[in-house]
């Protein structure tokens, strides 16, 4: 195809018009569309969180009834999990980056890719409809028998989750096929950037686990409409079985959230340390190791559910194995930074935040995986703090780091480095104020999911709430300077960070077909030692 004015055109301005965006099959545009959608839902979920924290400022009911409080935290959880964090890194950043990093023109099935975005939007409409019809108050885990008896609109929420599952499966399926079949000539498996390994491992989980979520929500819908009895104790069914079904998906799903984040961190740490990544294969295979192990540990969410003591023991034992590949990664990242030439740009600040916060989140996970300790900490704020440290301190920090890192590539403009660092500081401090406090609350026995609490917890709850405002303020700063940069930022060069992966060899923003010339693999993704020396000579 002959494109006009070769130098000026890029995927953002060619072809023009809303229709060309809505019917696009370009993975870059679909990635940007996903980014817009997840940002919207992150904002909604974040505002709900602020409402919850405000309500918890005082020990008594302030402005929410207990039922409304239940609906608030359920919506916060469900929106953040199903609408934001699961599609966030793979479908938004991954869609944009994956084909370019392996030197492909597009993903394997571009139309399926577009379909997955529409399915996502369609599913999210069901979820939003359920808010209007009577917001679900079961918690995002939808445990039976409460979810099969509550008068809120569980069915439409379930339909939404079912549809969103397809979107997730299609993204995963597309990525696996793309990585297998569309790598550029010379791009062998061990020359792929570690981001790709992270996305590949994620895609495997998406394909293997998500169908089980599908059948789980179908059974729950049937439970509510036909009274199937499989999960209902009054009907001779077993509610714990629902938890098995649910966590067979949802435990691997937390690795759908974290694995691509780990991929981003590998990129950031190597690039901003200007050093060859330490233990490439160890990081690559630990991603697959985490993906596999994630399927063997799901019942550690159910230690107090009444499952058999034998199963609890086995699952507790297996849970510790997740620590090994995660630990390998953290050690390799730290080893990469050691004696590197570290450049503390905003993305690197997020990467370091990730290392600190994810380590806290991971290590507290070991507490919770230990059977006896978990009996005490289960369903307290300790759990809430733990998963926010892994999901927000881990995945969201990685997402923000990746967003800043690829922002110039995606939009061709630099964000303000100064405000970027300020926002990062607010987010890091606010996050720790909010959630470290909750570890203390949890160990003192404050149960989760309560709208009211004993007076003695007020100082800690109050501190946590103030932290959440600091956190929210950080995000507000970020939103302002990022939007501002879209029009007024400095024009970005093709490779502002001096990184070595493929996406930095094309223009910023990239050409509609990614590369003007077929890319050639001349060096590994992190060969800073050899490439930098060559450039100097």
């Amino acid at each position: 195809m002959n494109l006009p004015n070769e130098a000026k055109i890029n995927y953002l301005n060619y072809p023009k018009g809303l229709k060309s965006w809505l019917l696009t099959v370009d993975h870059k545009r679909i990635g940007v569309m996903y980014l817009a959608a997840i940002t919207l839902f992150f904002a909604i979920g974040g505002l709900l969180a602020l409402v919850i924290r405000t309500e918890l400022f005082t020990p008594d009911n302030m402005f929410l009834t207990k039922k409304m409080y239940n609906q608030m935290f359920t919506l916060h959880g469900a929106i953040m999990i199903f609408l934001f964090i699961i599609p966030s890194i793979p479908a938004a950043l991954g869609n944009f980056i994956l084909p370019i990093q392996i030197g492909a023109k597009d993903v394997a099935f571009p139309r399926l890719n577009l379909a997955s975005w529409y399915i996502y939007v369609f599913g999210s409409l069901f979820c939003l409809y359920s808010i209007w019809e009577g917001a679900v108050d079961t918690g995002w885990t939808f445990y039976t028998p409460y979810s099969s008896t509550t008068d809120t609109s569980v069915v439409s929420m379930m339909l939404g989750v079912f549809i969103l599952g397809f979107s997730s499966i299609f993204t995963g399926l597309n990525f696996i096929v793309t990585v297998h079949k569309l790598r550029a000539p010379g791009m062998t498996w061990y020359k792929m950037p570690l981001m790709i390994w992270g996305l590949y491992a994620t895609a495997i989980i998406q394909v293997l686990a998500t169908p089980v979520l599908g059948i789980t929500v179908v059974l729950l819908i049937l439970e509510r409409t036909l009274g199937m009895g499989i999960f209902d104790p009054a009907m001779g069914g077993d509610p714990v079985l629902f938890q098995h079904f649910f966590w067979f998906y949802s435990h691997p799903a937390v690795y759908i959230m974290i694995l691509p984040g780990m991929g981003i961190i590998s990129e950031l740490i190597a690039t901003f340390s200007h050093k060859k990544i330490f233990g490439y294969k160890a990081i690559a295979f630990s991603s697959l190791g985490i993906a596999f192990t994630s399927f063997l540990v799901w019942a550690h969410h159910m230690f107090t559910s009444g499952q058999s003591e034998f199963a609890a023991m086995i699952f507790s034992f297996l849970t510790f194995f997740v620590g090994i590949p995660s630990g390998i990664k953290v050690f390799n990242w730290v080893a990469t930074m050691y004696k590197g030439s570290i450049d503390l740009k905003t993305p690197m600040l997020y990467a370091i935040s990730f290392l600190i916060l994810f380590s806290v989140g991971g290590l507290t996970g070991i507490f919770l995986g230990a059977l006896s300790v978990d009996i005490h900490l289960h369903d307290t704020y300790f759990i809430v703090a733990h998963f926010h440290y892994t999901m927000m301190g881990g995945t969201v920090m990685a997402l923000l780091g990746g967003l800043h890192y690829w922002w110039p590539k995606m939009f061709g403009r630099m964000y303000s480095e100064f405000w970027g660092r300020i926002a990062c500081a607010f987010i890091f401090i606010g996050f720790n104020m909010t959630f470290f406090t909750q570890f203390i609350l949890g160990t003192r026995g404050m149960p989760r999911r309560y709208a009211t609490y004993m007076d003695q917890f007020q100082p800690l709850h109050g501190f946590s709430s103030i932290g959440s405002y600091v956190l929210g303020f950080g995000f507000l700063i970020m939103a302002i300077y990022l939007i501002h940069s879209l029009r007024n930022g400095k024009i970005a060069s093709a490779n502002p960070w001096g990184a070595l992966t493929f996406e930095w060899e094309t223009t910023s923003p990239p050409h509609p077909h990614n590369f003007e010339h077929e890319p050639k693999v001349t060096h590994g993704p992190y060969d800073f030692d050899t490439v930098l020396r060559e450039r100097e000579e």
């Binding site: 028998p145 409460y146 099969s148 008896t149 297998h180 293997l208 089980v212 009274g227 009895g229 209902d232 104790p233 009054a234 009907m235 001779g236 069914g237 077993d238 714990v240 079985l241 098995h244 067979f248 399927f295 063997l296 799901w298 019942a299 009444g306 499952q307 058999s308 003591e309 034998f310 199963a311 086995i314 699952f315």
Partner: protein, 157 residues
């Protein structure tokens, strides 16, 4: 067009398809015959599953061409079945061993759904918010009393 090593077209002889088809039909006949005329107890299940597995293998290898195609597809297929096996086995580690310590945990709480007991009509089951709370109180009661009384203790006010 098909020079890639993964994509060599195998056109299998007609006779192969027909003979695999006939083997499948014969195996169906055998599984019905064994299932109807013999009672070996649990061995019946094993025999039926072995025959089904053989049939499935034949379909996958010949009809789905796994025998001739890239081994990536075969490993995907086996991988899927492996993860399903993990799901079944690990879940049954729980459900089959609940009675290890407390015998009452062996089967679901309500061994006889209320609709069989004339205590409640089929229509009012949807109103089961009360029912589930009742059952849970019965559960805690019966741990301390007699486990065999479990189902007859259920009352719905």
């Amino acid at each position: 067009m098909s020079d890639s090593k993964n994509n060599t077209i195998h056109i299998l002889p007609l006779s192969l398809y027909l003979s695999i088809g006939s083997i499948l039909l014969v195996l169906t006949a055998i599984t019905v015959w064994v299932g109807v005329s013999f009672d070996f107890g649990p061995i019946n299940l094993i025999v039926a599953m072995l025959i089904a597995a053989t049939k499935a293998t034949l379909v996958a290898l010949y009809f789905m061409h796994l025998k001739y195609d890239s081994k990536v597809y075969l490993s995907l297929f086996i991988g899927g079945i492996l993860f399903l096996a993990i799901f079944i086995v690990f879940t049954m580690l729980d459900t089959m061993r609940r009675q290890d310590i407390y015998e009452i945990k062996g089967t679901p709480l309500n061994n006889m759904a209320e609709m069989y007991q004339g205590l409640s009509t089929v229509d009012s089951i949807s109103d089961s918010t009360d029912v589930s709370t009742d059952v849970s109180t019965i559960f805690t009661d019966t741990i301390q009393t007699d486990t065999t009384q479990q189902s007859s203790d259920i009352k719905i006010d």
